[in-house]
C-alpha cells in the first residue's frame, strides 16, 4: 500500500491506457551530500497528457526537472524521455523537449528576436516566420526588437514559453510558467497550455498553484520529500472519504455526535459548517443527529474538498515522526502568548 493510499487517496497506479509514455523515471534518486533530494522516484507521463507536477516547497520538484532534462546527474536510476535514456542520450532526448527550469533567463543586451534566433539555432533550423509566430502566441510581437534586459519578469516568462515552443516539441516542460504574470497573463498561459494539450503536445507543468493544475491538467503527481505521494488522473485526486457540510441548530452538539460516530479525525469546521467525512454513511449521520434531537437544516456535498485539501492532507508533516523546526516551535510559543492564542 502506498503512502497516498494509506491516507485515503483514490488515485490508482499510473496508466497510459494505450498511449505511449513520453516521460518516465525509474528509481530516480539524487543526493546532495547527506541530503536525499529525490528518493527512488517512479513517474509516468503519457503522450498527450497535460501533466501536473505538484509538491510543497523543497519537495524536490525542480531537482526532478533538472534530472529529467539532464542538467544534473542522478545518484541512481534514470529517466526515459521520448524513448531516450537520460543521462546518456541527453542530446537525443532534448531534441523532443522544450521548456525552462526556474525563471527563464536570456542575454540581456540582445533583443527578444535575437535571443530566440540564438537559442533556436541550437536545436535546428528556425525560420524568422516561426519566431514571429511564437512571439505572437505569447503576445510579444510588438517588443520583438527590444532588449530583453528591459523586460519585466512577466515578459521574460512569456519569452521563456516562446523559446519552448520554437521547435514545436513533443514534450514541453514548464516550471511555474504563470509565476510573475498578471491575472490576464495567467489566464492566457493556461489557455495556451490547454491549446497545446488539445493539439497533442504533452505538457509537464510544475506548479504550486493547485487550482491551476486542477484547471488545466488531466493527470498529476504529488511529490513530497523527493518521493511520490500519489499520481493519477486529476479527477481522482480527491480525499477518498466523501465529505458533507452539515448545518444544525447546535453545531457544538452536532460535532460531538459526528465525532462519536465517525471518529475525531473525520470532523472539522469550515465557515460555520461542520465538515464530516461520512463516506457512504451520510444517512446514518443524519439519523444520529436527529436521534440526538438536533434540527438538521442542511446537508450538502462538500464539493470544494478538492485537490488543495488533498494536497495539504498528503503533504502534512508527520508529527509522530518529526519535531517541528526551531523556527516553527518559536512561532508556536509566540502564538500561545498572543491574546487569543491557542493553548495546547
Amino acid at each position: 500500500m502506498t503512502e497516498g493510499e494509506s491516507r485515503g487517496a483514490t488515485a490508482a497506479a499510473p496508466a497510459c491506457e494505450g498511449r505511449p509514455p513520453i516521460l518516465t523515471t525509474h528509481g530516480l534518486s539524487k543526493e546532495f551530500g547527506t541530503l536525499r533530494a529525490v528518493d527512488g522516484l517512479d513517474m509516468e507521463v503519457c503522450k498527450g497528457d497535460v501533466f501536473g507536477f505538484l509538491g510543497p516547497n523543497g519537495a524536490g520538484k525542480t531537482t526532478v526537472i533538472r534530472l529529467v532534462l539532464g542538467l544534473i546527474h542522478p545518484t541512481s536510476g534514470h529517466a526515459q524521455v521520448a524513448g531516450h535514456r537520460v543521462p546518456g542520450e541527453r542530446k537525443a532526448a532534448l531534441r523532443h523537449v522544450g521548456g525552462f527550469v526556474d525563471d527563464p533567463t536570456f542575454y540581456p543586451l540582445m533583443s527578444a528576436r535575437r535571443n530566440l534566433r540564438l537559442l533556436g539555432s541550437m536545436t535546428g533550423r528556425v525560420s524568422e516566420e516561426r519566431i514571429d509566430e511564437v512571439l505572437e502566441i505569447v503576445g510579444l510581437s510588438d517588443r520583438a526588437g527590444s532588449r530583453v534586459g528591459g523586460f519585466s519578469h512577466g515578459m521574460k516568462q512569456r519569452l521563456g514559453i516562446a523559446q519552448a515552443l520554437l521547435h514545436a516539441p513533443e514534450l514541453i516542460v514548464l516550471d511555474e510558467p504563470t509565476s510573475g504574470l498578471d491575472p490576464r497573463g495567467m489566464k492566457d498561459v493556461r489557455e495556451l497550455i490547454r491549446e497545446l494539450g488539445r493539439a497533442g503536445t504533452t505538457v509537464f507543468l510544475s506548479s504550486h498553484l493547485l487550482h491551476e493544475v486542477e484547471q488545466v491538467c488531466n493527470r498529476a503527481i504529488i511529490i513530497d520529500r523527493g518521493r511520490v505521494t500519489v499520481q493519477g488522473p486529476v479527477s481522482d485526486l480527491r480525499p477518498k472519504g466523501l465529505a458533507v457540510k452539515v448545518l444544525t441548530d447546535d453545531q457544538g452538539r452536532a460535532a460531538e455526535t459526528a465525532r462519536s460516530a465517525f471518529g475525531p479525525g473525520a470532523v472539522s469546521e469550515d465557515d460555520g459548517y461542520l465538515i464530516v467525512k461520512a463516506g457512504d454513511d451520510v444517512p446514518e449521520l443524519v439519523r444520529r443527529l436527529v436521534a440526538d434531537d438536533l434540527d438538521v437544516r442542511a446537508v450538502v456535498p462538500a464539493t470544494d474538498q478538492g485537490l488543495e485539501d488533498f494536497f495539504l492532507e498528503l503533504t502534512a508533516p508527520d508529527e509522530s515522526q518529526e519535531r517541528p523546526p526551531a523556527k516553527a516551535r518559536g512561532l508556536a510559543r509566540l502564538s500561545r502568548r498572543l491574546p487569543g492564542g491557542r493553548r495546547s
Binding site: 513520453i22 533538472r66 532534462l69 539532464g70 542538467l71 544534473i72 546527474h73 521520448a82 524513448g83 541527453r90 542530446k91 537525443a92 532526448a93 532534448l94 531534441r95 523532443h96 523537449v97 522544450g98 521548456g99 525552462f100 527550469v101 526556474d102 525563471d103 527563464p104 533567463t105 536570456f106 542575454y107 540581456p108 543586451l109 540582445m110 535575437r114 540564438l118 537559442l119 539555432s121 541550437m122 536545436t123 535546428g124 533550423r125 528556425v126 516561426r130 509566430e133 505572437e136 502566441i137 505569447v138 503576445g139 521563456g160 515552443l165 521547435h167 514545436a168 516539441p169 513533443e170 497573463g185 492566457d188 498561459v189 489557455e191 495556451l192 491549446e195 497545446l196 493539439a199 503536445t201
Partner: protein, 307 residues
C-alpha cells in the same frame, strides 16, 4: 494571447516523409540539426561575446596601451635608457616600428593575461551566474563542443585584441615617430615588411602563451558559478606561480610552468632567429593548454548545473 490563425506547431509534413524518433513529423524538434555544425557553436559564442559590454572595454584597454606608450614617450623630456621599462621601449623614439613591440612587451606579463582571464572566466561561470547556462543546456548541445567553442572563441577574441594592439601601435608609431627598417638584437637590419612579419609572429607567440591562461581560467570557470571567483582564483594562481619561480629555491620548478616562457619571443629578433627556444616555449604552452582544457572538459561534462 493565442490568435486563432497562428499554428502552435509547424505545418504537418507530407505523408511520404519518414517518421523519426517516437514523434510524428508535426514536431519541428525532429528536424535535422542545423547545417555547418562546426561554425554554429562558434558563431553563437561570438554573438554572445559581441553582446557583452566588457568585450569592447577590453579591446579599448588593449588599444590604449600603444597609445599611452606613444604619448608618454612623445611628451617625455628624455628617452628611456636601455633596460628601462618593457623590452624595445628605448628604441621607440627612433623608430615607430617598436611601438607595437614595446606594447606587446608591456602587456605580456600582466595585462594580457588579465584580459585572457577576464574573457575566459566569464565563459561558463558568467553564463551560470546570469542563468543562461541552464537554458542553453536545455537545448541538444554537446557540452564538450560547447566548451571547445568557448575556448576557440576566447582565443580568437584575444587574437583580435592583439591585432588591435599591433595595428594601433603601427599607426601611432607611424604618425609620431615614423616607420623605419628594424634593427634586430643581433645588430642586423630587416626591412619594413620583414619587421611587420616579426611583429605579427610576436603577437602569435603572445597568443600561444595566452592559450594557457584561457584554459586555466576556463577550468576555474567550469568549477564555479561565479565569474569573479573564477577570475580571482586564476589571477591568484598565476601570481603565486610567478612569485615562486622568482625565488632561486624554486629554480627546479621554472622549466615546468608556462609563465617562464612568456618572454621567449625575443628570440624572434635574433639573426638568425633562434627557433629552438621558441619551439620549446610553444610546445610547453600547447601541453599546458591541452591538459587544462581536457581537465575542464572532464569536470564540465559531469557537472551538475544548479544555477
Amino acid at each position: 494571447m493565442i490568435p486563432a490563425d497562428v499554428p502552435l506547431g509547424p505545418p504537418a509534413p507530407s505523408a511520404n516523409e519518414p517518421a523519426i524518433g517516437t514523434g510524428d513529423r508535426r514536431h519541428g524538434s525532429t528536424r535535422a540539426p542545423m547545417a555547418g555544425r562546426a561554425w554554429g557553436p562558434l558563431r553563437r559564442e561570438w554573438m554572445k561575446l559581441l553582446f557583452t559590454r566588457r568585450t569592447y572595454v577590453i579591446w579599448a584597454g588593449l588599444l590604449a596601451i600603444p597609445f599611452m606608450i606613444t604619448i608618454a614617450l612623445e611628451l617625455a623630456d628624455s628617452p628611456p635608457g636601455p633596460g628601462e621599462g618593457p623590452e624595445f621601449l628605448s628604441r621607440v623614439l627612433d623608430n615607430g616600428m617598436y611601438v607595437p613591440l614595446a606594447s606587446l612587451a608591456a602587456l605580456l606579463p600582466f595585462f594580457l593575461p588579465l584580459a585572457a582571464i577576464m574573457v575566459a572566466s566569464y565563459m561558463l561561470a558568467g553564463e551560470a551566474e546570469l542563468g543562461t547556462l541552464r537554458i542553453v543546456l536545455l537545448r541538444p548541445v554537446d557540452r564538450g563542443a560547447m566548451l571547445l567553442a568557448k575556448w576557440v572563441t576566447a582565443v580568437s577574441y584575444l587574437f583580435v585584441g592583439l591585432l588591435i594592439v599591433v595595428a594601433g601601435g603601427l599607426v601611432f608609431g607611424a604618425v609620431f615617430f615614423g616607420l623605419e627598417p628594424m634593427v634586430t638584437l643581433s645588430g642586423s637590419t630587416v626591412s619594413l615588411a620583414e619587421g611587420t612579419g616579426l611583429i605579427l609572429l610576436t603577437a602569435l607567440f603572445a597568443l600561444a602563451a595566452m592559450t594557457c591562461m584561457i584554459s586555466l581560467a576556463l577550468l576555474f570557470s567550469a568549477l564555479t558559478d561565479s565569474s569573479l571567483t573564477a577570475l580571482i582564483a586564476t589571477v591568484v594562481l598565476y601570481i603565486v606561480v610567478q612569485l615562486l619561480v622568482s625565488f632561486s629555491y624554486f629554480d627546479w620548478l621554472a622549466p615546468y610552468v608556462f609563465p617562464t616562457y612568456f618572454n621567449d619571443y625575443v628570440n624572434l629578433f635574433r639573426d638568425p632567429i633562434a627557433w629552438r627556444p621558441i619551439g620549446k616555449a610553444v610546445l610547453v604552452f600547447g601541453l599546458w593548454s591541452a591538459g587544462l582544457t581536457t581537465t575542464a572538459w572532464l569536470l564540465f561534462r559531469r557537472r551538475d548545473v544548479l544555477s
